[in-house]
Homo-oligomer: 332 residues x 2
């Protein structure tokens, strides 16, 4: 900047004024400065600026996702980028990979870079470690799951209600022998999905003690094995609800191996590409990652802009998409 000032023959503060579009600069001077700046290929150093600027805004935020390679996370990432990019805010994205320690490490790395806010998918048992920062007014929004140990905004899917809708849908097609396939029980959303599913079955007057619940499935293979076992036992279920994508895939494989794809009903939580190209198409409870991301970004911006409302959890409704597998009826 001093070089630009020297070349233009003005003071550095004047350069600063031109670059930042502050008023009080004559057109002639402005032109001189801009020309010098172009000539030197000058680039403002935002970091140095935010050091001095009121509020110390760095125009960057940290985003912590299960994994940037996960399509669901990718959609969220994209929606957040779009909403924040419009304000000139850049996003540090990081993956936590089911590792609670990484969660804290990455948050520390973000804080060291003086981000203006954080959007986090919590996984550690407690997020109390951010209390000091949050009470120093660091904007904070959680997505997918609510935080534990700290009060902050959160944007989540209606996990229990969505799963209840799946149960009701299957029951309305005449099923009474339902099975539940769940993710690791230390994940809050997994517990919510089970609760919603089971409670709805109870509400509909079906004894829930008979419902097979297979949990702690975290990949395709374990889900496939669980379904093979369920379906080859006595009194096999006529309908299956799988609470997560990989589990749905495992279930689909097992059904295909047994030649039961068109006889055993299946509803998966989470939509996926080509679900409609399967045979039959796979009925799902679809989440809306783009809405979750957009809402989270909007809440974060509001907080950055000084919104002082008490923290609130925003629920984004899921949606039942019928494609065939969830509409199969039980054998007569």
């Amino acid at each position: 900047m001093r070089h630009v000032a020297a070349l233009a023959g003005v003071g550095i503060k004047t350069v600063s004024r031109v670059i930042n579009d502050e008023p009080g600069v004559s057109d002639a001077t402005r032109e001189k400065v801009l020309s010098a700046s172009r000539q030197l290929n000058y680039q403002l150093d935002m970091a140095a600026g935010s050091l001095r600027r009121a509020g110390r805004r760095t125009l960057s935020v940290g985003l912590l996702l299960p994994s940037v390679s996960n399509p669901f996370s990718g959609e969220i990432n994209r929606a957040i980028e779009d909403a924040l990019g419009a304000r000139g805010i850049a996003v540090f994205a990081a993956s936590l990979d089911d590792d609670p320690q990484r969660e804290q490490d990455i948050v520390a790395a973000f804080l060291g870079r003086r981000v203006d806010g954080l959007i986090l998918t919590p996984i550690a048992r407690s997020q109390a470690y951010v209390i000091p920062e949050h009470s120093r007014d660091l904007p904070l929004v959680f997505i997918d799951r609510e935080p534990v140990g700290v009060e902050a905004d959160a944007v989540v899917t209606d996990n229990a209600a969505g799963s209840a809708r799946a149960a009701a849908h299957l029951i309305s097609r005449g099923h009474t022998r339902l099975a539940y396939l769940g993710d690791r029980t230390d994940i809050q959303t997994a517990r919510e999905r089970r609760r919603g599913f089971i409670e709805e079955i109870g509400r509909q007057g079906i004894p829930t003690s008979m419902i097979p619940v297979r949990e702690n499935l975290h990949d395709e293979e374990s889900a496939r094995l669980a379904v093979l076992e369920l379906l080859t036992a006595a009194e096999p279920p006529t309908a299956i609800f799988s609470s997560q994508n990989l589990i749905t895939f495992g279930a689909m494989r097992a059904l295909r191996e047994l030649g039961l794809s068109k006889r055993v009903a299946l509803i998966g939580f989470d939509d996926f590409t080509l679900a409609d190209m399967m045979d039959p198409g796979v009925t799902v409870i679809a989440q809306h990652p783009e809405r979750i991301g957009k809402l989270a970004a909007e809440r974060l911006l509001a907080r950055i802009d000084g919104d002082q409302q008490p923290p609130h959890t925003y629920v984004v409704p899921s949606e039942l998409i019928q494609r065939g597998s969830g509409e199969l009826r039980p054998p007569a």
Copy 2:
């Protein structure tokens, strides 16, 4: 930092020494400082540090992808994050969305944040705009496509060779009436894929002038319509090569509509989830995004560490994965 120094009763430089693990501090002093730092919940400000530090490293890099929500980009993103995260480097990820103007804008935003390097998927007609920075020693690695107008490292898939392999594979199964479905011709990789495919057909002694080439397909629907048209015309092709994921999906839909999924061979460029669950499974030329990302990150780190070799383009080989659709033979 001054607060920590005050609380610990030492000078601020001593605090800096402790935080940065520099030698020349007694254990007693170190302990005092650490304790004060914990008490105040102190966090080093990296931006301020890099202002003064030799080399001005900010420990952050910019990553520009077609879209963070695209699974292929997601894999690359993840591999890069892993490789750079190990060195404490954070990643700004942004999507360019087929918009050449965005490419420049986002690069400018990255530069303003004084990133230590850039990994870019080029899309604009020329990347000459980064020449000033690059010649000032800004490390730069391109992925997926080679840059135009600037000499820098690049990491790409063997697009032509992979497509040639697809052609050879189909011909070895007895096909002579092949069709090519391509993306927008202003995309370098799309042109490469066409070239590889067509040239291999010529090498195998089949007249290439008869090969229907349908290009500038950029979404599922346009690809579906193109395939419907191809297959209902006189002398329809017996094998189709689609040069990109969405186009492959469109082709699959068209084949299914016409009931030809098991009669017309199909090979797609790019692997995708559940390809093996289709009926028949979809044979693909798979790219290796995780290898591309890892290699790009390694090259960037080498450049950051001062590697001065002349720029080089690294080619990551693709792989033919047989799943059935590409092994169908032409009707006798």
